[in-house]
Amino acid sequence: MDVLIAGGMVRALQGLAAASPTLLVGMLVAAVLRYYLGPQGTVRFFGGDSLRSLPQSWLIGMLLPVCSIGVIPIIREMKRVGIRPGAITAFAVSAPLFNPLSLMYGLTLSRPLVIIGFALASLLVVTAMGIIWDRTTSWQSGDHPREGGPIGLKRLGVCAIFMSRELYGPTGGLTLVAIAGLFLLGVVLPHGALQSSVEQLDPWAPLKMALVAFPIYATPMLTMSQLGMMFAHGNSPGAAFCLLLLGTGVNLATIWWIARSYGWKPMAIWCMTLFLLVLACAYAVDRPLIPPGIEPAGHTHAFDIYTNPFQQSSPLSFSLVVDTTLKSIGWADFIGLGIAAIVLVFGVVFRTMVSVRVAAFETSTPDSSQATATGLNRHVSSRLVGTICLGGLVAFSIVSCYAYYPAPNEVLEEMRLARTEVLSGAASGDFKRTLHWIPILDEWSRKLEVGHAIRYFQLRPYQQMQAFLLRKKLELLEHAVEHALEAASKDTELGKIQLEEERQEIKVLQAEISKNGRRLIDAFAPVK
């Protein structure tokens, strides 16, 4: 099996799995906009036809838990009802950047000022871009489809049909275009590329990142962790900003859709405007946002997820490819994939085998313009139902923060189990087990901070420092273990000496991580 193709496929499959939960959310939001808010309600929801729609769309994007793929069905619906292109852009670029979950995560990774600054800079970019780009399209104010649409219980069925036909349809196709960007990067970028490309004080770093970022697809959570890694390793803040807006905010599908919807020339103007605005902001923040006291590490692992996971010289096997693919797919992604698969199957059925029956079902659904209230069957305004649906989604994403970031006592227990695996693997020489559990323990340490912060509305410097120390030692341990494995593979006298040196280093780190564990328990003891 070719390493390049296998690497590309692995990255594409990982991206598809990561996208599935927020893609489903995006299709649900689009269905609510279409069948509950209706055209006028949707236009009002995004701020009407005035310039206010730009910052308002940005704000709605910040609240909805969608990624740059999940945003696709929503912007298709926004275009259908005639919302101004600048507002569509503002929403399309901002929605994937932050949501309540990723914002919580980001506030514990980087300095809060940085995250807030990036969010406000994104508002500046999308507003300026929206104003410029509106002039290049042929959009006319007030050009909205007529009101009316299905009503009653059958409306739920119509929504489900819509979602499944979208997935086996335009949205599904655009999803594959977006994922093709990850495949391309996985093929073109060899293992370890980009690790030293975005160093602090490198004047080319923001530009390099801007040029590579367009094909990237990343979920908001992944981007937050990457931003944190970049700041922790003293990489270029300007490059981090380019990654956020151009990597997370946009993907190949966004560009393709804009070209198909508005034309190739407006698309080119759109890309160039976004590129230049983001680059200008990136260079403006590059020096001021350099974190004090952080020694530049000279490299970062933040972008390893986009490069080929296999070394050129690695012997490939089907089981290795499967293991590598599954390594980064979490339980939420598996559930999302499962549900998306079911929705896709229904999409195939609705578009092929039973398309006539589906059309008949849709036309038989009572229309809101004709329905009359009889008995208990009352006409509730679609605006009210739609607002409740969308408000509920935002509320759900806030509530889900508490599920995703458990209480500190639960997290500490999970950390105890993960730490045991890390340390016992290191002690017994089962280094692959250690390497498997290190990222898990790292992730739990971040959840510990967020879980504490959202429950007690504070995070003391001592708590942050102990969590930081754990992650630092885990990274050193990871390096030491990788060096040990490399030395063990050499089978030379020098290799044996290096292996022994690494074992000593590993032993020291084991003790330090163990002591840090006790300090973490004390630091995060319940607040009295």
Partner: protein, 140 residues
């Protein structure tokens, strides 16, 4: 035009990514520990005093000034990586943070905050002694 754009992107991406052959050895990506990184609190105090003496005699010594800024930033981490309790750690962290803010301000000279440096050094020595007397010792 579209094929040209795609070809350009495919050719340009690897160049801009700075990629070429993937790295030979994992050692190329080791974190380099600065030479003035303190091994413990006592060492941090000693290093601060050494550099303070250098800056006293030669206020224009940029290297010593820069290293003192680094030491001030690192001290909370060094102190937290011991068995100091949170209550014992807070004064060290607070003073380091205050010093760090002063040093970021361009209109403050090292000599203006010399007392703060000495105070920080004393705190570190005292904390280290306390740990030693309690038999808890440093983390390593």
């Amino acid at each position: 035009m579209q094929r040209l754009a795609l070809g350009f992107t495919l050719g340009f991406l690897p160049a801009m990514a700075g990629c070429g052959p993937s790295q030979e050895s994992l050692h190329e990506l080791d974190h380099v520990t600065p030479a003035h990184w303190p091994v413990d609190m006592a060492d941090a105090a000693s290093k601060i005093q050494e550099r303070l003496a250098i800056v006293r005699s030669d206020p224009s010594n940029e290297i010593a000034s820069e290293e003192m800024r680094d030491l001030v930033d690192w001290v909370p981490e060094i102190a937290a990586d011991t068995n100091l309790s949170e209550e014992q750690w807070i004064p060290i962290q607070a003073l380091s943070e205050t010093l760090g803010r002063h040093l970021m301000s361009k209109d403050i000279k090292m000599s203006d905050v010399e007392d703060d440096f000495l105070r920080l050094s004393e705190l570190l020595v005292a904390a280290n002694s306390q740990l030693a007397s309690e038999g808890l010792g440093k983390s390593d």
